[in-house]
């Protein structure tokens, strides 16, 4: 599966064509900032700057012959820091992974996540019919649009892990209670919702992403609503930045943006104190990729008793939890190479910041950080809570 000269030239052109501002690849200074800031750059045989060097030297076959590109978690650190503003993450990294997938070089865990996404519309391999099972016990009842067939104000795009993963379902339920308490007129797609596809796209499966996006587009088209909110920053990123390219355009916000807008309505409901030092982890796809830093902090500071502390890597420099770009499904592979998890680094940072609660806003993070907290020495006491859960707690639930 080695590439030849022909592949490189068309590869070059394909990256350029497929990515907005892909021509910027030609402006690479070989400064190495990307490779330096990459959390796993030290483990990659070909970190981003070296990949570009090989591409230019007509030796991209060397990159394709190696599997260390799967260490990339699509955290956007390289893209954010590049002085030439090359779209490294969605362009170079995703495109290289795509080449590997086409050649059949896919780690087994990732393969089954991709196959599950294709067959069941979610990477976990759960039945699509059970996607809204989490709603039991929520009063007033959560409207599943396929059953209710009414116009709603907000379509809440729930997401895969938020729908199926037992730990993350707790976050979803908390958010449902908050939306109900605020009197938001919302509905969910339930079984008609497919994975947003963003992580699959960044893991190199462009075709799969388009297939999932098309399905969601069809589902959106069936119903009347004014805007979309998402639990997941990845879904937010996809619907905001990628779906319009497929003619699927809707106003979309992450739930922290939506709630920040309603902070005056929310504050009176936050009656119970949550007395703790809280470190907020900026998710890659909310922060670095989409510039949303203040709204989640605003919400946290509205909770009585919360003392916000900042970790060493924050805002644009936030450290990825390791779940993006397929990382959720490359755990075994990445562990074999690194013997350390990004989530564990992060938990250490929260400890160093004196945090009692590590607050998150992405469904990948709650299980990842909780797992890390169990193995990091001294971290057994740290609580990992999604912002929605802290609000829910402050509301007295």
């Amino acid at each position: 599966m080695t590439a030849n000269g022909a592949v490189e030239h068309s590869f070059y052109d394909q990256v350029l064509e497929a990515t907005p501002e892909g021509e910027r690849l030609r402006l690479c200074l070989q400064c190495g900032d990307c490779s330096g800031i990459c959390p796993f750059g030290y483990l990659m045989v070909h970190p981003p700057s070296r990949m570009i060097a090989h591409l230019r030297a007509d030796r991209f076959d060397k990159v394709l012959d190696n599997d260390t590109v799967w260490m990339c978690v699509s955290c956007y650190a390289c893209t954010a820091v590049c002085p030439a503003q090359i779209p490294l993450t969605p362009g170079l990294m995703a495109r290289t992974k795509e080449e590997l997938i086409l050649a059949g070089n896919v780690p087994a865990e990732l393969q089954s996540a991709l196959e599950n996404s294709q067959r069941y519309g979610n990477p976990l391999g759960e039945s699509p019919r059970k996607r809204a099972d989490w709603v039991t016990g929520i009063v007033p009842e959560v409207k599943v649009l396929g059953k209710v067939r009414k116009e709603v104000d907000v379509l809440w795009f729930v997401g895969d892990y938020s729908s199926y993963h037992p730990r993350v379902q707790q976050v979803t339920k908390a958010l449902a209670r908050i939306l109900n308490a605020l009197g938001v007129d919302f509905g969910i797609l339930g079984p008609e919702e497919s994975s947003d596809g963003d992580s699959q796209r960044l893991a190199g499966e462009r075709g799969l992403f388009e297939m999932l996006a098309e399905k969601n587009g069809l589902a959106f088209g069936k119903y009347e609503f004014n805007e979309i909110i998402t639990t997941d920053p990845h879904a937010y990123n996809a619907i905001k930045n990628e779906y319009p390219g497929l003619d699927i355009s809707y106003p979309v916000r992450h739930y922290t943006e939506y709630l920040a807008d309603r902070i005056d309505q929310l504050k009176p409901l936050l009656k119970k104190e949550v007395k703790a030092k809280v470190a907020y982890h900026d998710p890659c796809y909310l922060g670095r990729a989409n510039g949303i830093y203040e709204q989640p902090r605003l919400i946290l500071q509205a909770i009585p008793g919360v003392e916000l502390v900042e970790m060493a890597h924050n805002f644009k420099n936030s450290l990825c939890c390791g779940g993006g770009g397929g990382g959720m499904w490359l755990d075994g592979f990445q562990w074999e190479k690194a013997h350390v998890r990004l989530s564990e680094w992060r938990v250490n940072e929260s400890l160093a910041a004196g945090a009692e609660i590590l607050a998150v806003a992405c469904p990948y993070e709650t299980p990842r950080f909780e797992d890390a907290a169990k193995t990091v020495p001294g971290a057994a006491q740290i609580l990992v809570r999604d912002i929605a859960e802290l609000l829910d707690q402050a509301m007295g639930n």
Binding site: S112, G332, T375
Partner: protein, 329 residues
């Protein structure tokens, strides 16, 4: 034509497989209604001893009323072509009421081929029979059961273990062996070139009957030895979930889970394992899952048959000593 139930005995390298006795137990149930006798069909070379001598493990004999024995070099070890031809001759001549095969690498090579060749009905994956001639089979990963009357004139049946125990297919009486004519077996289209032994070395947890599995709750490497003592006492081995392997406390060959092995032991004892989907998908085929976890909400309790919230560190040594005492050791 007769009302007998024939059982195709499975043996490899001089050892009778346990499924043979399970089949005999099933056959004994069927003949209660049919009124015929149970005939063990033994194909081999110089293999009479497998039926005429007691089993070295149990000291018992096959619980068959008679043994029909074919002796031929081409039958000395199982090959599908020779065995299929031999049985085709026997079954079309005798026309028994039923022929039972194991749902195994041996039996499934034979039953369906004979069904087409001899134009006789076949039923697969039977776990039990009733005296009034009904079969019960399980399909769809054990999620669906099918029952019906065993078809005639001769039902070719494959059996799975699970309902009858091997002891029910054994007794203390040596059966009478009759030498039976062998139909032409040439040309032999399948020949055995040789056997390849399994690698001895580290344990294959997928083949173990008892697994004592540890999760994060074991807390550190030094505590693994407690699990090992319990495992040894129960005749099993230690396995673990991902974080335990990642820490290097157990070798990768002991990993149970999505990126490790799928296991189906008789007993899966889960110590301090929460039951995340990536782990539980690899253990759902276990016969009995017993979960020990201080968190009453741990998802493992939804798939375990038995559970306890007792702290594993309070329990494990007490349990190990009680197990040893029960064994008389």
């Amino acid at each position: 034509m007769n009302n007998d139930v024939y059982v195709v005995i499975e043996h490899l390298r001089g050892q009778v497989a346990e499924i043979s006795y399970v089949m005999l137990a099933g056959a004994r149930e069927l003949v209660k209604g049919y009124g015929g006798s149970v005939a063990a069909v033994l194909l081999g070379q110089n293999a009479r001893g497998l039926a005429e001598n007691p089993s070295p493990t149990s000291g018992q004999y096959m619980a068959a009323d008679k043994v029909l024995y074919m002796d031929h070099p081409a039958l000395s070890e199982f090959t599908s072509d020779a065995y299929q031809k031999a049985l085709a001759g026997l079954v079309s001549k005798d026309q028994p009421r039923a022929v039972i095969f194991g749902s195994t690498s041996i039996g499934t090579d034979l039953a369906s081929t004979l069904s087409m060749k001899l134009n006789l009905p076949t039923v697969s994956s039977c776990s039990s029979f009733s005296a009034d001639g009904k079969f019960t089979s399980q399909i769809c990963g054990g999620k669906i059961m099918a029952q019906g009357d065993l078809p005639g004139p001769t039902a070719l049946v494959t059996m799975v273990p699970g309902v009858y125990k091997a002891e029910q297919g054994q007794n203390s009486q040596a059966p009478v062996l009759t030498l039976v004519d062998i139909p032409p077996l040439d040309p032999l289209r399948v020949t055995l070139a040789g056997y390849i032994e399994p690698e001895s070395g580290d344990i294959d947890i997928a083949k173990e009957k008892v697994l004592v599995s540890v999760g994060r709750g074991i807390q550190n490497q030094d505590n693994i030895v407690l699990a090992e003592e319990l495992a040894t006492a129960l005749g099993g081995v230690v396995s673990g979930s991902r974080p335990v392997i990642d820490q290097g406390w157990l070798s990768t060959s002991r990993l149970v889970g999505k990126s490790g092995k799928h296991v189906k032991p008789k007993i899966y004892l889960a110590l301090g394992i929460s039951g995340a989907p990536e782990h539980t998908e690899a253990i759902t085929d276990s016969d009995t899952i017993i979960a020990i976890n201080t968190d009453p909400g741990a998802p493992i309790f939804n798939i375990a048959k038995y559970g306890t919230e007792t702290d594993l560190f309070d329990l494990i040594e007490v349990l190990t000593s009680q197990v040893k005492a029960a064994k008389g050791g």
